[in-house]
């Protein structure tokens, strides 16, 4: 599996050993310089010594709560993005977290691709925005102005939803997108208990039928249990 590499320093504040190890391993694999803090004190110390770009902050920490750390970091003139990762996942918790100065909020259990996408988005906010990459991948080109998609010079007839879906996959090219991300960002479903996984799967099948089936090289792949990825063919 091809891995899109990011760059940046990330501090993971998480007391659950297994979760922390998995996060650190996953982030390192994706090219991030990652350090781990298991307690609030350690986190506070590491924020000052390593100057991370992004802090992944668990709210339920031993000794000092995550919100307290958050308030302390925010009380100082530091340019750091903070993403809360927690299983306290109600709207009130979200609002409390964002009010306390967090930049983003992700409820556990989250999908790792989604975490990567959020981190990338937070890092984009800090650095100079890269000029929008040409909407092209392998032999697929998208004319965003005219909303025309073609592959190998053949124009493809896509419905609005299919077009939006393809555009989203192109924006996250070489990265897996989960069904949760698609439900939220393409279908704009806010309720978490809406049975639209079925809809997403069928829609994906139809998109694949149009952009992949007539061509020998396949670009759109399903990663079972994780989501979907649109990626460059491996040479």
């Amino acid at each position: 599996m091809q891995i899109a590499s990011g760059s940046g320093r990330i501090l993971v504040v998480e007391d659950d050993r297994r979760m922390a190890d998995a996060l650190v391993a996953g982030l390192k694999e994706h090219g991030y310089e990652t350090t781990l803090a298991r307690t609030g004190e350690e986190a506070f110390f590491l924020v000052h010594s390593t100057h991370p770009d992004v802090v992944l902050l668990d709210l339920t920490l031993p000794q000092r709560g995550g919100l307290e750390i958050l308030a302390q970091i925010r009380a100082q003139p530091m340019d750091v993005r903070i993403l809360i990762l927690t299983s306290h996942n109600s709207v009130e918790d979200r609002v409390a977290g964002l009010n306390a100065g967090a930049d983003d909020y992700l409820g556990k259990p989250f999908s790792f691709p989604e975490l990567l996408a959020r981190i990338a988005s937070l890092l984009r906010r800090t650095s100079v925005p890269a000029h929008s990459a040409p909407l092209q991948l392998a032999d697929i080109t998208v004319d965003a102005q005219a909303r025309i998609v073609s592959r190998s010079g053949v124009q493809l007839e896509l419905t609005t939803r299919e077009y939006d879906l393809l555009l989203y996959l192109l924006e996250h090219r070489n990265n897996t997108v989960s069904r949760e991300m698609l439900a939220r960002d393409v279908w704009h479903e806010t309720s978490r208990f809406t049975p639209i996984d079925n809809v997403i799967d069928v829609q994906m099948t139809r998109l694949r039928r149009k952009i992949d089936d007539p061509f020998p090289v396949k670009l759109l792949h399903t990663i079972r249990g994780v989501g979907f990825i649109l990626r460059e063919p491996e040479l």
Binding site: R192, T194, P195, G225
Partner: protein
Amino acid sequence: MRLFRPANIRTRLAVWYVVILAAILTVYIGAVFVFQYVLLERQIFHDEIQDVETVEGLLYFDTGGVLRLQEGYHSHPQSHLLEDRLMEIRDVSGTVLYRSDTLKGMTLGGVSSPDEGANSYNERSTRLSDGTHVLLISHLHPVQGRLVLIRLGYSMAPLHEQMMHFFLLLLLATPIALVAAGFAGYSIAKRALRPLDLMAARAEQITASNLNDRVVVEHPHDELGHMARVLNHLLQRLEQAFAQLQRFTADAAHELRTPLASIRTTGETTLHDNRNEAAYREAISGMLEETIRLNQTIDGLLLLSKAETAQSDKSHSSFLLVELVDEILVLLEVLIEERHITVQQEQEQVSEPLFADRSLIRVALLNVLHNAIKFSPDQAILRILYSRHEQDGRVFQRVCVHDSGPGIPSGEHERVFERFFTGASPQSAAKSGAGLGLSIAKLIIDRNGGGIFFDETAAHGARCCMDLPLHADRHRQV
């Protein structure tokens, strides 16, 4: 100022009873006393007038010009000793012509006033020089051609003495009556409240383990009986809710365990064998899929608890049901197209909006429509029927979703709404998912004052009908 506040109701009732009785008795005694006094005083005046009339007939001037009273009318000579009448007679110039022995030389009523006794009896009370209180009348009367002023009075002392006796009698009787009334009130209150003690004793013993116990209803129709019945109803509802909660917890544990077991087994067997990378990949993917299922079940449970507590009108808005259904159909369009299902909407014009939590109603409708599509065979027809429906004076908009799937076996029309219910046939069980969709839909619609049911008369397929209260209806209700 808090003088005395007894802790138990029966003492409080008895004390109130006694205090109120004492107040009433005081007022009553005062009124009776005053009334009696006034009555007796008037009687005395009346007697005096009678006496004056009598005396007038008995007066005469003797040959020496001295005014005298005929004594001959006493049948017994000693009778005049009983007389306690006071009398003084003057001539017009004020000279005293006659004074009764009972006055013992004192004057009666002082200097005469100009018109005294001419037009009325001048009823008045006065005091003698020895301090005796006297009720007095005056009358002008000619005796043998000479005009004389007759003053006649009675001492008030006997009346006062009698009234004092009367008063003392009342004063003595009142506390006795109050004490008796207090005891009676206390024992009546105690007897009346005894069922309360029994109820409290029984209720104290009821805990989670014996919620099926009930308090005793002694007299079903009085207030305490009513109270007992209300308590019993409360216990019954508690028992039901508790049983439901227990069942739900057990079911939830079961539902959460099933994917966990699958994850565990997959992990164990895969790790045990030395497999190739593809097999590991396959196993991990399967495990991830199970975690997604697990997460969806938890989300469903959270949504249930949210719908259970969501009561406030804050999240309510008014919207058209038809528009919401169309929105959901657009979302599900890709499934409908893929399965070549034809959607037919039949609609009676209902232009009033609903008033409800739109996002929750949307979840409910989405679940029902998604179910209908899931169970429809390919190339089937899905009918959506709208109608107005009135029940108990309330107006509902009814929407029925009629699929042409296998339908619901008889006897399961209610059970499909139970949490974690999945159909008995393996085919429907496979499609049912977590088995929370319909119970979520039912909870949401119930909480919004509507109703949801599967029409048992549907000839083929399943027909799910939802009644949702109309906005206009709501205002009429409020």
